[in-house]
């Protein structure tokens, strides 16, 4: 009897010791990764916020004086001589273009990506893997090189123009490059796999008995697609849209190469402020505007998810 109590108390103290050991290893293992990301990823973001309220230094950097000029500059232009402010749409135009191109890219990716994902999900397993492999490869290959490849094709002396001239459809090269169209096409090309993969993931689990039931109830193919397949794939569609929209909003390489410095997006504007313009506070303010746009998209995404969950339970 006495023996039993000692073993049980030993056991409980062993459990407590085990718990302590567990906790210390837990934090010991987790801390380095978390700290690295915190120090290099999260802390600098708050420094960006601080910098956006300072004055620019003469050769880049900042001088430590409180100033709201960076934010005023987003909407107003200061006259060089008498410092009067006048309303300017220069930067609004770039924000507007980024949002517009981002949305256009997302819709185009959805229109191409959904049928592709559905087609892949309905293939026999072996072929499905081959298709997934083909979609995944561009996903992991260098974006700069892929954009350069797009540039080669869209140029005045590129594949498209040369072949159109050859067959006599046009006399002079179409100005394809350095247009909104080129940037949008480049973005679709860059981020299409981001749309296909999550939609595939949700379609893969689709129970085709539901589709069969739809047909049994005399639904047309389109109706089955609209009322059964698409609603069931909604989480994948929402995830795909957010995964395409966020990098499109912050795109740098694609507009830099295919927009040719004429069709700037937010990413290029930021780079410009830290590069040639040497206006770090203004660059920081623009970066924060971009963050706000991204957060808004994420919020809409999360809310759409929450609504869907509620209706599924109801």
């Amino acid at each position: 009897m006495a023996e039993a109590t000692t073993t049980s108390s030993q056991l409980s103290s062993a459990v407590i010791a085990e718990e302590k050991r567990l906790r210390s290893t837990r934090y010991g293992l987790l801390a380095p990764g978390i700290l690295t990301i915190f120090i290099i990823g999260i802390m600098p973001l708050s420094i960006v916020l601080v910098y956006s309220f300072l004055k620019p230094g003469d050769f880049g950097g900042v001088t430590w004086e409180l100033s709201f000029k960076a934010y005023v500059q987003l909407l107003f232009e200061e006259d060089i001589f008498d410092e009067t402010l006048s309303f300017t749409t220069d930067y609004l135009e770039i924000f507007w273009r980024s949002v517009g191109l981002g949305l256009a890219t997302t819709i185009a990716c959805l229109l191409v990506g959904f049928p592709t994902a559905y087609f892949i999900a309905t293939q026999p397993p072996a072929r499905r893997n081959a298709w997934l492999f083909l979609i995944t490869i561009p996903f992991w290959t260098n974006l700069l090189i892929r954009t350069y490849a797009m540039l080669l094709i869209l140029r005045d002396q590129g594949m498209i123009n040369l072949s159109l001239i050859k067959i006599g459809a046009i006399d002079r090269a179409l100005p394809l490059l350095y247009t909104d169209f080129a940037v949008s096409l480049g973005l679709v090309y860059a981020y299409l796999p981001f749309m296909v993969l999550p939609i595939f993931a949700s379609l893969e689990k689709l129970d085709f008995r539901l589709v069969e039931a739809g047909y049994d109830l005399y639904a047309t193919r389109f109706k089955v697609l609209k009322r059964i397949i698409i609603p069931l794939a909604k989480p994948g569609i929402a995830a795909g849209c957010i995964l395409v929209l966020i990098p499109s909003l912050g795109a740098y390489i694609t507009p830099a190469l295919l927009g040719g410095g004429k069709k700037l997006m937010i990413g290029n504007l930021i780079e410009l402020q830290f590069g040639q313009a040497r206006n770090w506070p203004f660059g920081s303010a623009i970066a924060l505007v971009l963050m706000v746009l991204v957060m808004l998209s994420l919020l809409i995404y999360l809310r759409s998810g929450a609504r869907k969950g509620a209706s599924a339970h109801g």
Partner: protein
């Protein structure tokens, strides 16, 4: 009525069929691969043109290999990618062990969110933030060097290394580790002899992803890299801005080749795992 009849005749195909979807899927593949195919093809063009084919040759590869700028950039890229890969994979493995192998605890979700943070912030914002942060440190300490670039790469590589390792750990059978513990293996021995070998495919996949992501990065490197720290993508970007030459095509093709090999390896690790399960 007719439609129902055909539906019964060829049900297995019919149920899943949607008109035009297969054509769109093929179009998708063509769009994804045609530009790359053109780029690769013209890297073997003897002519200076990147659009008019004359003759097959390796001239541009030889030129690229002899170019000192390219050699230097390639070394910088490999050095940064390798060190960032090693550190980020170790950190990600440790973090993955904690987030999957210990009972749920307060702060678990926060930890996972922090690890995935680099995936949620636009790269250009991270780049700006890192640039400012490093500028402050440089001013305060006077220390310069390639360490900053490696640190920045390590941070954004962690989530990419973390994903496959965590996926692997979640799929693994706990009973094997329990069996080892039942046979009086001390915890470290269980980890070294059972857990670690089992999670190795995930670690390898994570390491390769981290390597690719670091090798491919343009934006963060563009902001953070100091003079003499030009990586291969930065070199290519600079050349493209000066005008297109088949030499860039040759370097790009080699670069693509490396990525494709690594992705194929990752894919093989992944499918192996599934086969094992079935």
């Amino acid at each position: 009525m007719a439609e129902i009849a055909t539906g019964k005749m060829d049900k297995s195909i019919d149920l899943k069929y949607q008109p035009g979807f297969s054509q769109i899927a093929w179009l998708c593949i063509v769009v994804l691969y045609a530009p790359i195919a053109v780029l690769v093809l013209f890297s073997f063009n003897q002519n200076r043109s990147v659009t008019v084919w004359t003759e097959f040759s390796f001239d541009w590869y030889i030129k690229a290999a002899q170019n000192e700028g390219i050699q230097h950039a390639a070394w910088v890229s490999l050095e940064v990618a390798f060190i960032a890969m090693v550190i980020s994979t170790i950190l990600a493995t440790m973090a993955a062990l904690v987030t999957t192998r210990t009972p749920p605890y307060r702060g678990l979700n926060v930890a996972v969110t922090v690890i995935n943070q680099p995936l949620m912030v636009p790269e250009v914002v991270t780049a700006v933030a890192t640039l400012i942060f490093f500028a402050i440190i440089k001013q305060a300490t006077g220390v310069t060097g390639i360490g900053y670039l490696i640190a920045a790469h390590t941070a954004f590589c962690i989530p990419f290394a973390y994903m496959p390792i965590r996926a692997r750990l979640e799929d693994m059978d706990l009973s094997l580790e329990q069996a080892a513990a039942d046979l009086y293996a001390p915890p470290f021995k269980v980890f070294r002899r059972v857990t670690l070998p089992l999670m190795m495919p995930g670690i390898m996949a994570g390491a390769m992803l981290a390597f690719i992501v670091s090798l491919d990065d343009v934006i963060i490197t563009l902001f953070v890299a100091g003079p003499g720290e030009t990586t291969l993508p930065l070199y290519i970007l600079g050349q493209i801005r000066r005008g297109v030459t088949p030499e860039i095509n040759a370097v790009s093709t080699l670069f693509l080749g490396i990525s494709v090999i690594l992705v194929t390896l990752i894919f093989l690790f992944g499918t192996d795992k599934n086969k094992g399960k079935q």
